[in-house]
């Protein structure tokens, strides 16, 4: 069920990229899609009633292995959020420069390259 919601988020982003004409909205679409995938990735490691995956001296290892959530996807998602931030910052910067050059955010009017 939760995974289906992630997929809905993913498709919303894809729909946004495919149909919107505004450059900033396209970048927002990318961001939504990325959020969908990140959410999916982090949910893969989640367990109901799980415990935080940190070991200290008093931790019972057997209990820990059975109940702790998987920490690996969390590390991955952190990295991928940072990467996504870089992409989106660059995308927004490009949008601003495009606006300076063309005077518009509409991709239908930004088309000098064709053929």
């Amino acid at each position: 069920m939760v995974f289906a919601l992630c997929f809905v988020l993913f498709l919303t982003g894809l729909y946004c990229i495919l149909t919107k004409k505004n450059t900033v909205k396209i970048i927002i679409g990318l961001s939504i899609m990325e959020a969908g995938v990140n959410l999916f990735l982090v949910l893969l490691g989640y367990k109901n009633d799980g415990v935080v995956p940190i070991i200290d001296r008093s931790t019972d290892i057997v209990h820990f292995l059975a109940y702790s959530v998987d920490p690996l996807p969390q590390a991955l998602v952190l990295t991928s959020i940072v990467i996504g931030l870089g992409t989106i910052a660059l995308g927004i910067a490009l949008c601003m420069r495009l606006y300076v050059k063309y005077g518009t955010f509409d991709i239908a009017e930004i088309r000098r390259l064709k053929g």
Binding site: F10, V37, L72, T87, C95, L98, K101, G115
Partner: protein, 505 residues
């Protein structure tokens, strides 16, 4: 030895990149020196370890917990290609980038891209591959927009949106594979998949990977960004993008995942053959009508990547169907040899176009003419590269195309062989057009004062042209064993990858 050298392939360009940004903000000279020294040392290192094999464990952690880098024949081949083209492009940049402002940013991004590509071909971990792929991609988005004019920004925006879409699909694929197997290490995934067999989720992940890496490699039908992005970048960057970036982050990852992680079967092989033929045919027919030199070259990149994917897909298809291993190795040889050749002659062509643009100020074929007389070295090297890509003997492109055709014929796929020859013919026609309009004929009036480019720009052209002439020898029996055989072995024995990695720990 290998353990001390391997980290340097990422450390040197990464360090040099930040060093340039620190010390070279005011003057251009330190940036030139640092960038050229680092790419030169990378080339030397990649040749030194060409015969070396092994696994490097980052921080000493064993897989599947830690990240490991795997050096095998296939990675070695790509390391040499990447760093060879890098050094040619940085030498060319010294004079070419003179007219741009903020050259230190250019070199920083350039070296970041190199670091990313070296990382992609070395890593043995899926998520690590994604991270390096993004480093290389984001640097290349910024480099495409480097000129800062209307066309550059537009091309870069298109490239960024499609490229990020590809990355997100790849990340989703990695997440699915992790969810299915519980591993991120390629060797462990490969072992898990070979024991569980390929299920529906694996196929879905494979489709995501084909789409994602297909976008990165600009295979038809995911090619629409390439003809805009590659011509808009400065010439040395076009050479890097067309010459190595689409191969290192697109073709390499695709092949590594399909042959070594998922394991080849006839469905994947058939898909690769289909995409290859489609790219080959559509790319070349779109190229014939172009009048902008760099745009024409960019369309040819799509078409030539089709040859590579066709050769490798054909080999995989033959093996999966239980065909002869010799014919399959021949197909792999053709594909990999063409990949090597393409990076040499396509970077040469893009550098030539940069040299011509620098001297004449135009990229339109109709405004050129008689450049062979005015710019003898650029003209000659451009002729050699054009004949190579068109597949005229004795240049390197001829041999690799011939091997692909022979492999297709021997496997009994006569139609594929025929299509390959036809596409090669159309390529020849389109490059005769390039030569007819730009190099031969009378010198047009505006170009009367054109002079040959400076020595530092011509030097890489001559080096690459000599490679174009000489690389035919790689097809000879004694030489193939050393240069391409190790890489072919990795593909032929795709399923043994996991065993190889675990035996090297």
């Amino acid at each position: 030895m290998m353990n001390s050298i391997l980290p340097l392939f990422v450390a040197i360009p990464l360090g040099a990149s930040f060093l340039i940004a620190l010390v070279s903000r005011k003057r251009k000279l330190p940036a030139d020196i640092i960038a050229n020294l680092s790419t030169l040392s990378l080339l030397v290192l990649s040749i030194i370890i060409f015969q070396a094999r092994g696994v490097y464990k980052i921080g000493g952690w064993l897989p599947p917990a830690g990240i490991n880098w795997v050096l095998d024949g296939f990675s070695n081949l790509f390391l040499v290609i990447i760093n060879l083209i890098s050094i040619c492009a940085t030498v060319f940049s010294i004079k070419y980038m003179k007219h741009y402002t903020g050259v230190y940013k250019y070199y920083s991004l350039f070296l970041l891209m190199t670091a990313g590509m070296n990382g992609v071909v070395l890593t043995g971990d899926m998520f690590n591959l994604f991270v390096f792929l993004e480093i290389a991609s984001i640097a290349s988005y910024a480099l495409v927009a480097f000129g800062g004019e209307h066309e550059e920004l537009e091309a870069s925006f298109k490239y960024l949106v499609l490229g990020s879409l590809g990355s997100i699909l790849i990340l989703l694929g990695i997440a699915l594979v992790y969810g299915m197997t519980g591993y991120l290490n390629m060797a462990s995934i490969s072992k898990a998949i070979s024991s569980s067999g390929i299920g529906q989720v694996h196929i879905f992940a494979a489709l995501l990977f084909i789409t994602g890496f297909g976008i990165k490699a600009a295979l038809v039908p995911f090619h629409s960004w390439l003809p805009d992005a590659h011509p808009s970048a400065p010439a040395p960057i076009s050479a890097m993008l067309s010459g190595v970036l689409i191969k290192a982050i697109g073709i390499y990852s695709l092949i590594r995942i399909f042959f070594n992680v998922f394991g080849m079967n006839s469905i994947f092989g058939g898909m690769l053959i289909g995409i290859g033929i489609l790219s080959m045919v559509i790319g070349v027919f779109l190229a014939v009508g172009q009048w902008d030199l760099k745009r024409l070259l960019a369309y040819h990149s799509i078409s030539q990547m089709g040859y590579v994917i066709l050769g490798i897909g054909l080999g995989g298809f033959i093996i999966a169907n239980g065909g002869s291993l010799i014919v399959a190795s021949l197909a792999f040889l053709g594909g990999l040899f063409h990949l090597l050749n393409h990076s040499v002659f396509k970077s040469l062509l893009f550098l030539c176009s940069g040299s011509i643009e620098n001297a004449t100020g135009t990229r339109q074929l109709k405004e050129m003419g008689g450049l062979l007389k005015k710019m003898p070295v650029t003209g000659t090297t451009c002729t050699i590269a054009s004949l190579s890509i068109a597949g005229v003997p004795p240049f390197n492109g001829f041999w690799s195309k011939l091997i692909i055709v022979i492999a297709a014929m021997q496997a009994g796929y006569y139609i594929i062989g025929f299509v390959t020859i036809l596409v090669s013919f159309v390529t020849l026609v389109s490059f005769l057009k390039v030569m007819r309009y730009s190099l031969w004929g009378p010198v047009s009036g505006i170009l009367a004062n054109v002079k040959e480019s400076p020595v530092l720009m011509v030097l890489p052209l001559v080096l690459l042209a000599l490679l174009c002439i000489g690389m035919g020898v790689i097809a000879l029996p004694g030489v193939t064993e050393v240069v391409l055989k190790p890489a072919i072995e990795v593909l032929v024995r795709g399923a043994e990858y996991a065993g190889y990695v675990f035996s090297q720990l």
